[in-house]
């Protein structure tokens, strides 16, 4: 499997699409997560502060952009949306093999099909880890720049919290990547897999439960077993930034981090098993 893993990395490194995706995520992390917010909080006129909690101004929100809050800020921006990038990584890793017909080239080499799949999974996991570490890295760097610009002290969260955050981010992004790989395996292509993955992640699950909620039906007991809800629980478990004189801006998650980790791990295992079953049994006719 090591040969397959190295082979997959060899492909990833040479694939421009992968670099574009990773770089785009990191650039967006700086621009959307920090630069634009800092600009808004810095230059907005006082009249724009209507609707904020009494006594607060936009400038108070800047605290979220400082190093002590970079973990919370990263989760608040990317806890849900960032997964989309990981989904695309997973889809491209597997779906392109069908699109180019290289799946038959791979399956006629020495390794068996499952070895190929698990080698690819391991390589995707490494790419996802690089994305997550990169994301926290650029966010930390951005927060230092902003704190320096604002003349604030530079104090990071404890190392164990940062490590826990990287682990949680890896699980959230990993879930999305495996979800993408599974969709690509099932549909034997990239376009359908990305479309369905995005539709589910951004619309379907949210929409279903919002509709129930609209009807006054309590849905959290059911929702706690769905993946996107659990990526939210895990992100929210790192807490929200407290503004001066206010409580946290987000509600306490319905389920705790342990619950979210277990559920997401179960989904990762289930999707991997589905991919393995399709990989092992299905004919390659492309």
């Amino acid at each position: 499997m090591l040969a397959v893993f190295r082979g997959e990395l060899f492909k990833f490194v040479r694939r421009p699409g992968m670099w574009i995706l990773v770089v785009l995520l990191l650039v967006l992390a700086v621009v959307v997560g920090y630069a634009i917010l800092w600009l808004v909080y810095t230059v907005s006129p006082p009249s724009a502060a209507r609707g904020l909690p009494p006594g607060t101004t936009f400038a108070d929100f800047k605290v979220a952009l400082y190093p002590q809050n970079f973990v919370k800020q990263t989760f608040s921006t990317w806890g849900s949306l960032g997964g989309v990038f990981a989904l695309i990584v997973g889809v491209l890793a597997q779906g392109s093999e069908y699109g180019w017909g290289t799946i038959k080239t791979l399956y006629t080499q020495r390794s068996g099909r499952l070895t190929m799949l698990f080698g690819k999974l391991a390589a995707v996991a490494l790419i996802v880890l690089i994305m997550v570490v990169g994301l926290f890295g650029v966010d930390a760097a951005s927060s230092v720049v902003i704190a320096t610009l604002d003349g604030k002290s530079i104090a990071f969260p404890a190392a164990d919290e940062i490590l826990k955050a990287i682990g949680a981010g890896f699980l959230i992004f990993g879930f999305w990547a495996v979800f993408g790989m599974t969709l690509a395996t099932v549909f034997r292509q990239s376009a359908m897999a990305i479309g369905l993955g995005l539709a589910y992640g951004l619309v379907v699950e949210v929409l279903i439960f919002d509709l129930f909620r609209l009807g006054g039906i309590g849905v959290q007991q059911v929702q706690q077993w769905f993946p996107i809800a659990n990526t939210g629980y895990l992100s929210d478990s790192f807490g929200a930034v407290r503004l001066r004189g206010t409580t946290a801006l987000t509600a306490t998650p319905f389920a705790d981090a342990t619950h979210a980790v277990v559920v997401l791990l179960l989904y990762v295992v289930a999707f991997t098993a589905i991919s393995a079953w399709f990989t092992r049994t299905r004919d390659v006719t492309s």
Partner: protein, 322 residues
Amino acid sequence: MAIISKVIAQGMRRPPPAGLGGDKVVETNGLTKVYGKGIIAVDRLDLSVYRGEVYGFLGPNGAGKTTTLRMLLGLINPTAGSARVMGATPGSPASLVKVGAIVETPAFYPYMTGYDNLRLLARYCGVPLSRVEATLEQVELTPRAHHKFSTYSLGMKQRLGIAAALLKEPDLLILDEPTNGLDPQGMADVRNLIIELGKGARTVLISSHLLGEVELMCTRVGVIRHGKIVAEGTIEELKGAATLTVRGTPADLAMTVLATDAGAENVKELGDGAFSLKVDLARAAEINQHLVQAGVAVSELHADERSLEEIFMELTGTEGGL
């Protein structure tokens, strides 16, 4: 037709061809593939390919050639029957380690160079990187090795496919229509390469619908139609014995000389002074000399040999679909 029927009858579970021993590299028993709602692509196929032969798998489009080759590579699961390739289950690492293959159009990563594509496969196969340059040289792709695969012509893609198949120095080469998309010079080059590769202990199983190609390359041929082997044998066996046609006057004198030379049972009178002889074609000059010495005026003497195309059409019921 009688000869063909004989070949068909002999083709089923026949003993190994002379000189090949009994070492089966590919063996199928009742191999069957049914798609969807009863579309039978391969129908109880019994096939044996022996070590060291260049076996041509011949059939019109849609006859089941590619499906069979895909089953032998483990890409497609059979609906029924079994197969062994290099003594192992098709598609298993034990089988694939000794098999190089091209199935239909060679598929590689378009964003990588030909060289990098082969390097990647070398990693997967555990083959030393020195093999990459050697195989590129073998298929004469070295000058374009560092260009992206997406910029390759169809012919160059085919060559890269052959290079990839050779990377493992396989004991068995499975090539599905390897000259597809090549220009005449490219086809000739690939043909010569395959003939060269087929020398020695290496076995080549090649599918094609190009009869001339098969005739030039293969030591034995299996003809497939509607998923079934309808004939199997050497090219000579499939063609049957050639005959010699002689025309001379006087006809009765010619008949006497020919009967003496070839045996009366091997001479058939065609009328108008023409005769058909079942003899070794190498004796044509000798027979001509005897006729002339006996006073027969010989106006025509030529070999009559059925082309593989005629045989193929007769076996597969196809016309112009080659």
